[in-house]
Symmetry: C2
Subunit: 479 residues, 2 copies
């Protein structure tokens, strides 16, 4: 058992922070509520960026950069938007030694400044669709923060698109939601529910918000990515118009969608255990750590030669694995193993003199601790297979966990009992009113995570009022 | 001639802005002095990032992320640092609806907050060297701004390293300077002088600053990247100490080095002409634009089939070229050609019905307008060769321009005359005093760009005072 990590059963919140510290993923910054993303954590973000960026570009999006400072008046132009973001703004009042004529806010999100520029760039239907993404930092001043999950500054990507028709924009909104879902499930091995948000939970300024909702090991929900259909709300606020195919001047329809460094927290809480971080192979910055073990110079020579061969077998593939050779000589083997365990590296290849004699390396799976001796001849094929199996099993395990903690409840007393005793995702009927939603939240802290899409909607009766309901919605206590 | 671009000879500053507008590289943001980097401009930055990031990682550096907001008191901890940056700070005084107890500055650079964290991370010589880089936005409030060259917000990378000894840190400083030089010369086809800055021109807080200096087409110098040996200045200000190999507690030696989106402006002013942007092939986001030309459906079928084959020949290589198929049907051929000209795309492949009959595509070089017909069989080999030749010729041309505008001057009257009549880099002897440097700057606007390294230093006499000088230094009027 890891002495530097509090077990989940004892204190889940402390476990989370301990896993981050042990894996050297992030630190608290000197400014309250902000974080420093350390190299191990940032490398995970770089992997996420690479996969998502490729998917965005494959679907026709390009990257750009909009400024971090936004005139305060911009935020006021969309009524819901200012209401939602006003309490969280950080404001620059002085610059260059002088007080500014108009205060500037550090972007909490960029719909407003993007809208201002799109109004200049879009003239005709020929300029549409406009499909732009940006990778950047944003700032939302938070009182209660937690590394990765809720910090005053975080990194994210925000896509902003403009379209001729509402139907096309809605299609884009759902396309990007699905890109997030596939990324989270296939790359992060993290199953997510997708669906629409209730009116109370949607993005300030959106017509519809859709989200990906994951279930963490403490049976709380985590919103892992959102995609918004903004209708013509921002187009009207920022006067983004175009000459349509009938030569009429019309407002565009816009979308926005984002995923952030919060995903690192989600990934951590989906797979990690009481020994620390567990990373699925597809997202792991280091997939195989090779640990040569020797005591004498003679042993060193033969072990290092063999380790070099192992490394080459894994590197010379068309799609080379991400490997790291651990050449530290000033630490005990147990400490070196533990380092890679707590960094969440999927496979550790231990190579000592006895392994060399037997002509194999001992591969140890991070998640199951299973030990698999593989000869040089087997490595090139068997290691990728092992990693694929591990990826699949991590996803299956997380999905089974979610299924085991998804419950159908039909009455409000049952809802409260199951929520308290079991937690997880509660599927219940709801009459669609904000009042009932607010009451449930007030009394139980559970919110509607989403109105799930797909499948045959089965009507029923609201668990609180008995009024008719078209389909069950998903409640949960959420991060 | 491009009607949307002012010729260089008429108004160089306007030419620069016109090339940016015509190429859709960037726009002025609503906040004064800030910019929006548009997709075409940002794609160039992404290419720069990819090449530099690979070079940083190959030399053992890892990426991380430090917060954008820094307590104002941090900036005051290093005396020269606050003096240098104080006039340029943007200050957050309010957040979350309240006035902050301590104002926070938007980072102008991150030595201070990095130093604060390094003090926590470094305990022993075993933790060194610490080799961290970050890609981020920074803010320096500027009164007179120019897109890419000087903006209140810009994007950059900043490397921050900590070492056991001064010698090792100096070596790192020069290693990174050379990585910049090679990148600028080989990838951007932009020749640069490297050397040390004078005391007056060095980074606030550095012991030594080294820079890469390029010469623009208007014969003004542009500082394109800097690398600083910080000695123990920041280590002492932030108490970054370690137990050395003799078990003594010692301060680390640090470096920092940075290159920014300013490089896009440098690239533009090195190669572009009166028709707009010219990009060297190695940095161009699109290397070949394929433009099929047809008037009837029958022509379209055969032209598009041939264009598809051209595209495949260029894409199926091991190292595929970056190509774009221009399928627009609502614009005249001349407008389509002009679009790619002004985006700076190195090669345009025109394919009309007559070309298909002859079994070739007509490749047009952006820089020389040279037309080269190439058959399908030739393309896979000849196009990369053509791009390599173009890359080499752009570098040679820029280098010849610099040589033609580098002058040795021996007296101050000669200095003033040559500076006024010719501009460029002026190699002159200097007595090393800040007073002479300041007087020359005051009287001529020329500053010491660098004290060049390498070669046999040839002693002489200061052009102003006649006092002894160890070597010539390079003066120029600079951006």
């Amino acid at each position: 058992m890891a002495k530097n990590i509090t077990p989940r059963a004892e204190n889940y919140s402390q476990w989370y922070l301990d896993v981050i510290a042990a894996g050297q993923l992030a630190d608290h910054a000197p400014v309250k509520g902000c974080m420093v993303i350390r190299p191990t954590g940032y490398a995970i973000w770089e992997q996420m960026q690479a996969v998502l960026d490729r998917k965005f570009k494959e679907t026709g999006h390009v990257n750009a950069y909009f400024p971090v400072l936004i005139p305060e008046s911009f935020i006021h132009k969309e009524a819901q938007h200012i209401e939602g973001f006003s309490p969280e703004l950080a404001v620059v009042t002085h610059a260059g030694g002088k007080m500014l004529e108009e205060p500037l806010v550090v972007r909490p999100t960029s719909e407003t400044v993007v809208g201002h520029m799109y109004a200049q760039w879009v003239q005709s239907y020929r300029d549409l669709p406009l499909l732009i993404n940006q990778w950047c930092n944003v700032m939302r001043w938070e009182l209660r923060t937690r590394l990765f999950l809720r910090t005053s500054e975080f990194l994210w990507q925000e896509g902003h698109t403009a379209h001729e028709t509402g139907a096309e924009a809605e299609e884009e909104t759902l396309r990007m939601l699905d890109i997030y879902r596939v990324f989270m499930e296939d790359t992060l091995a993290m199953p997510v529910l997708t669906g629409r948000k209730s009116e109370s939970e949607k993005f300030p300024g959106a017509v519809h918000t859709y989200s990906c909702e994951a279930l963490m090991q403490d049976k709380k929900a985590l919103q892992a990515g959102t995609s918004h259909y903004l209708g013509q709300n921002f187009a009207k606020a920022f006067n983004i118009t175009f000459l349509d195919r009938q030569n009429n001047r019309t407002h565009v329809h816009t979308t926005s969608w984002g995923a952030s460094t919060r995903l690192i927290g989600a990934l951590l809480m989906t797979h990690s255990d009481d020994d620390g971080l567990v990373l699925p192979p597809r997202i792991a910055p280091v997939q195989v750590a090779i640990v040569p073990l020797y005591k004498s110079e003679a042993e060193k020579a033969e072990v290092m030669a063999f380790a070099g061969q192992v490394s080459r077998r894994l590197s010379e593939k068309l799609d080379p694995l991400r490997i790291r050779m651990d050449t530290r000589e000033d630490q005990r083997p147990a400490d070196r193993f533990f380092h890679w365990v707590q960094q969440g590296v999927p496979l550790r290849a231990e190579i000592g003199p006895k392994d060399v004699q037997k002509g194999h390396a001992m591969f140890v799976r991070r998640d199951t601790r299973e030990k698999v001796p593989l000869s040089l001849e087997q490595i090139a094929v068997a290691v990728p297979e092992l990693l694929t199996r591990m990826q699949d099993e991590l996803f299956a395990k997380a999905k089974a966990f979610r299924e085991a903690h998804s419950h159908r409840v039909d009455s409000y007393p049952e809802f409260k009992r199951v929520l308290e005793e079991q937690g997880g995702f509660l599927y219940a009927h709801w009459n669609g009113s904000a009042e009932v939603e607010a009451m449930v939240k007030e009394e139980t802290k559970a919110t509607i995570r989403c109105i799930p899409a797909g499948g045959e909607p089965a009507p029923g009766k609201c668990m609180v009022t008995g009024e008719p309901s078209l389909q069950r919605v998903v409640f949960s206590v959420a991060y």
